[in-house]
C-alpha cells in the first residue's frame, strides 16, 4: 500500500522554474510522461501530488493518468526519501547468500519497514532489485556507497558511520 506523504510539501521557486523548463522541453513529444517524471524526481527527490499536478497541467495530460503512471513504477516515489537511502539488494544471488537476514537486521536497528523513512529523516530503507554487483553478494548500498560481501552483524557498525 502506498502511504501518503508524512511531511508537508516544501518546493522552492527555483525547483519550480527548473521543472517548467523540463516540461517546456518535452511538451508535444511522443511518450514524454516518463522522462519528465524522471527529471521531476531528480529535482524534488520525490513526486508529491503538488508536483504531479504541475506536470499534468504543463503537459496537458489528465492528473489521473500521471498518478496512474507514478504508482505503477517502483522507481517513482510518493514519499520523501531519507538523507541516506539504504538499499538492500534482494536479487537472487544476494538472497541465496543471506541478504534477507541483513534486511531484517536493518529493520530491527532502525525500527522502520521497507519503504519507510526514520522520523528524523536520516535513513530510508528500500529492498532493491538486483543492482548487478552479484560478485560482491550480499550487497547493501547507502546512497552511492556500496558495501559487499557482508556478514550478519556487520551492518550496525556501517550504519553508525552515517
Amino acid at each position: 500500500m502506498e502511504k501518503t506523504a508524512t511531511l508537508p510539501f516544501k518546493g522552492t521557486k527555483e525547483q519550480e522554474a527548473k521543472l517548467m523548463e523540463v516540461i517546456a522541453e518535452h511538451k508535444g513529444q511522443k511518450g514524454a510522461t516518463i522522462p519528465v517524471l524522471h527529471k521531476a524526481q531528480e529535482i524534488y527527490g520525490y513526486l508529491p501530488i503538488e508536483v504531479q499536478t504541475m506536470i499534468a497541467e504543463g503537459l496537458d495530460v489528465p492528473l489521473a493518468e500521471i498518478y496512474g503512471v507514478v504508482t505503477f513504477y517502483t522507481q517513482f516515489s510518493l514519499n520523501p526519501k531519507g538523507e541516506y537511502q539504504i538499499g538492500v539488494c534482494l536479487g537472487t544471488a544476494c538472497y541465496v547468500k543471506g541478504s534477507g537476514d541483513i534486511l531484517e537486521e536493518i529493520k530491527e536497528i532502525l525500527k522502520i519497514d521497507v519503504g519507510e523513512c526514520t522520523p528524523d529523516g536520516k535513513f530510508s530503507l528500500e529492498a532493491t532489485r538486483c543492482v548487478g554487483a552479484c560478485g560482491l553478494a550480499p550487497v547493501v548500498t547507502i546512497n552511492d556507497d556500496v558495501y559487499g560481501r557482508l556478514n550478519k552483524g556487520e551492518i550496525g557498525a556501517i550504519l553508525a558511520k552515517y
Binding site: T33, Y73, G91, G132, A133, C134, L136, G148
Partner: protein, 597 residues
C-alpha cells in the same frame, strides 16, 4: 595515436565499480604522473572482464598480468615495481595464472578456457567510451557491408540462415521476426532494444552495454535497414547508470561520425536512436508492455495478436530484440552465417552469456557455446562450490525459469533441452545453490517477486500468484497440509494456461520445477514439520551439543530473549518455547557447540 609501451586495462563494470575501481584508476593516474610515466603508459577503463568475484581487477599489457582484488594501497607498488622496473608484483597476481615461474595466458585459465566470446568479444578489451577503439576492432564494418553490398532481403536471409534465436528468454528466431516486420507496408516502422534486464541475478545485458555499447548501436542500425525503419529506441533500466551513460556517449559519438543520422555511409538510409529509461517494473521486459511504457503509459501488456511486427509501438510495425541478440548481429554479418552455424547445437546456434552467481567460487560473466553442460559451467568454469559444500541445484531463467537438480547436471544447455527439463534459458541468470538453500524457500522468494511485479491487468496472474505465495508461506511456516501441495500444483497449471502475458504464464515455473525435483523437501515441511536445509525459521531449532559446550555462558549473555540458561562450566540449554531463532547464539559460540536442525 601516441605510441605507448604499456597498457593498463582496468575493469570499470558495475561489479568492479562497486568494489572501488574508480579510486584505483585515479590513484594509478596520480602514481604514473608522479613517476613521469603518463606519456609512456596508458590507462584504459574497460567494460566487464567477467571475473567479478576477483574485483577490482586490472590487466597490464604487454605481459598480460592479471592483477586481482587490487586495493588503492597496492597501486603505488604496481607502478614502481612493475611499470617502472619491470618486476611483476606476484602477490597480486590471480593465483590461477601463475605456473611455476611463468605467467599463464588468461585464456588458459579454467575460468576462460572453455569460454567463447562473441557477444562479449570487446568487453574488457576496448575503451567503451571511445568509438575509435571499436572501429579498430572491425566496428561498423558490418553496417557498411549491409548498406553498400547487401539488399535488406539479403541481410534478413543471412540472419535467418545463422539460426540466431532471441537471447532474452523466448528463443524466437531473430531472422523470422525481422522478416515479418519487413513484410509490413507502412511509412513508419520502429526498431527497439530490450535492455530492461529485470531478472534478479542477471547482468549480461548491462555488461554488454557497459563494455561494448557500439555493437548494439551498429546492430540496431542493421535491423533498421533490414526492416525499413528509421527510428530506434533502447529501453533501459534506470538502475543501470553506468550503462546509460556509456550508451549515451556512444550514440553521440556515432552521430558525430555520421554512423547514425541521415545518409549513413553515403546511402539514402537514415537511422536515429534514442534512449528511454525504464522506471522499475519487471513486466516491462514483456514486449508489448515495454512498448506501452515507451509510449509513456502504465507498462501493461496487450493481448497478441496483433503481434508487434504488425502493430507495435504507436501501432506501427516494430521489432524488439534483446541486447545480447543484437551484440551477435555484427559478428554474423562480418563472419557469415555459415561460421555462426558451426557453433552450438543443432537447434541452438552460437553462444550464450550467463551471469554466474550464488554459491559458486568464480562469480561473474561467462559466455559458452550452446550445448555446454551445466557441470562444465559450474565445476570447471565456475570453480565449484565454496566451503566444500555440495551442489544442490542451479536456477536458470529467473522468476520464469526453474531449478535444475544435481542428477541433471550433464544436460547440454540449449533452448530445447532446458525446456524439456522444466526450466528455460531465460535471459541468462544462473544461480547456484548448495545444500544450505531450501527449495521451498527459493520458490517462495520468486513468488514474492512475481506478486510484487504482477501488473494486475489479468486476474489469473494478479490473484493466482498471490494464492500461490500464501500456500507456500503456509508450508514454510509449518502449517501446510498434504492437500496444499496438490492444490499448489493444480493452481500452477491454471495460472500458466490462463494468464495474458509471459510474466503470468511462466510465474509458476519455480514452484513446478521445485515440486518436480524436490517434492520430498515440500513433504518434509508438511509431514515432518522440518526444513531439511534449516532455512525456514518457523521450522528450525537451535540446539546446544552438550558434548561440545564448555559452559562459558557467552550464548546466554548474547540471547536477546533470555532463552538460554545453565550453570557455568556445565552444558547450557535453549528453551525452545522462548527462542526466536535469531541465530545470535550460534554465530557467537567459540566452540561450534550450537547447531541448527
Amino acid at each position: 595515436m601516441d605510441m605507448v609501451r604499456a597498457h593498463v586495462l582496468c575493469c570499470g563494470g558495475t561489479g568492479c565499480t562497486s568494489s572501488g575501481c574508480e579510486a584505483i584508476i585515479k590513484e594509478m593516474e596520480t602514481q604514473l604522473a608522479a613517476n613521469g610515466l603518463e606519456k609512456e603508459i596508458k590507462v584504459i577503463k574497460t567494460g566487464c572482464f567477467g571475473l567479478c568475484a576477483l574485483g577490482p581487477v586490472m590487466i597490464v599489457y604487454p605481459e598480460g598480468c592479471f592483477y586481482s582484488r587490487v586495493q588503492v594501497g597496492d597501486v603505488k607498488e604496481i607502478v614502481e615495481e612493475h611499470l617502472l622496473k619491470g618486476r611483476i608484483v606476484k602477490r597480486l597476481l590471480y593465483q590461477e595464472t601463475i605456473e611455476e615461474d611463468n605467467i599463464k595466458s588468461l585464456n588458459e585459465v579454467d575460468f576462460y578456457k572453455k569460454q567463447m566470446r562473441i557477444a562479449l568479444r570487446n568487453c574488457g578489451v576496448i575503451d567503451p567510451e571511445n568509438i575509435d577503439e571499436y572501429i579498430a576492432f572491425d566496428g561498423y564494418k558490418a553496417l557498411g557491408k549491409c548498406l553498400t553490398e547487401m539488399t535488406s532481403e539479403e541481410v534478413i536471409e543471412e540472419i535467418k540462415k545463422s539460426g540466431l534465436r532471441g537471447r532474452g528468454g523466448g528463443g524466437f528466431p531473430t531472422g523470422l521476426k525481422w522478416q515479418f516486420a519487413a513484410a509490413q507496408v507502412n511509412e513508419q516502422k520502429y526498431v527497439c532494444c530490450n535492455a530492461d534486464e529485470g531478472d534478479p541475478g542477471a547482468f549480461m545485458d548491462r555488461s554488454i552495454l557497459e563494455g561494448d555499447p557500439h555493437a548494439v548501436i551498429e546492430a540496431m542500425a542493421i535491423a533498421g535497414y533490414a526492416i525499413g525503419a528509421n527510428q530506434g529506441y533502447v529501453y533501459i533500466r534506470a538502475e543501470y547508470p553506468i550503462a546509460v551513460k556509456r550508451l549515451q556517449i556512444a550514440i553521440d559519438q556515432a552521430k558525430e561520425y555520421g554512423l547514425l543520422g541521415n545518409n549513413i555511409f553515403g546511402t539514402d538510409f537514415s537511422f536515429d536512436l534514442e534512449i528511454r529509461l525504464g522506471a522499475g517494473a519487471f513486466v516491462c521486459g514483456e514486449e508489448t508492455a515495454l512498448m506501452t511504457s515507451i509510449e509513456g503509459k502504465r507498462g501493461e501488456p496487450r493481448p497478441r495478436p496483433p503481434f508487434p511486427a504488425v502493430k507495435g509501438l504507436w501501432e506501427r510495425p516494430t521489432i524488439l530484440n534483446n541486447v545480447e541478440t543484437y551484440a551477435n548481429i555484427p559478428q554474423i554479418i562480418n563472419n557469415g552465417a555459415d561460421w555462426f552455424t558451426t557453433i552450438g547445437t543443432e537447434k541452438s546456434k552460437g553462444t550464450k552469456v550467463f551471469a554466474l552467481g550464488g554459491k559458486i567460487n568464480n562469480t561473474g560473466l561467462v559466455e559458452v557455446p550452446m550445448g555446454t553442460t551445466l557441470r562444465e559451467i559450474v565445476e570447471e568454469i565456475g570453480g565449484g562450490i565454496p566451503n566444500g559444500k555440495k551442489f544442490k541445484a542451479a536456477q536458470t531463467g529467473g522468476p520464469s525459469g526453474g531449478c535444475i537438480p544435481a542428477h541433471l547436471m550433464d544436460t547440454p544447455i540449449d533452448y530445447d533441452s532446458l525446456m524439456a527439463i522444466g526450466s528455460m534459458m531465460g535471459s541468462g541468470g544462473l544461480i547456484v545453490m548448495d545444500e544450505d538453500n531450501c527449495m521451498v524457500d527459493i520458490a517462495k522468494f520468486f513468488l514474492e517477486f512475481t506478486v510484487d511485479e504482477s501488473c494486475g491487468k489479468c486476474t489469473p496472474c494478479r490473484i493466482g500468484t498471490r494464492r500461490l505465495l500464501e500456500l507456500l508461506t503456509k508450508i514454510t511456516d509449518g502449517k501446510g497440509t498434504m492437500e496444499d501441495i496438490d492444490k499448489l500444483e493444480e493452481l500452477c497449471y491454471s495460472i500458466k494456461e490462463s494468464s495474458l502475458c509471459g510474466l503470468g504464464q511462466t510465474a509458476p515455473n519455480p514452484v513446478l520445477s521445485t515440486l518436480k525435483y524436490f517434492r520430498e523437501e515440500y513433504e518434509a515441511h508438511v509431514r515432518d514439520k522440518v526444513c531439511p536445509a534449516g532455512v525456514c525459521k518457523a521450522l528450525s531449532k537451535y540446539i546446544i551439543d552438550p558434548e561440545k559446550c564448555k559452559g562459558c555462558s557467552l550464548c546466554a549473555r548474547q540471547c536477546p530473549v533470555n532463552a538460554i540458561s545453565g550453570e557455568i562450566r556445565s552444558p547450557f540449554v535453549i528453551d525452545q518455547d522462548k527462542c526466536i531463532k535469531c541465530g545470535a547464539c550460534m554465530s557467537g559460540c567459540k566452540f561450534g557447540a550450537i547447531y541448527k536442525k
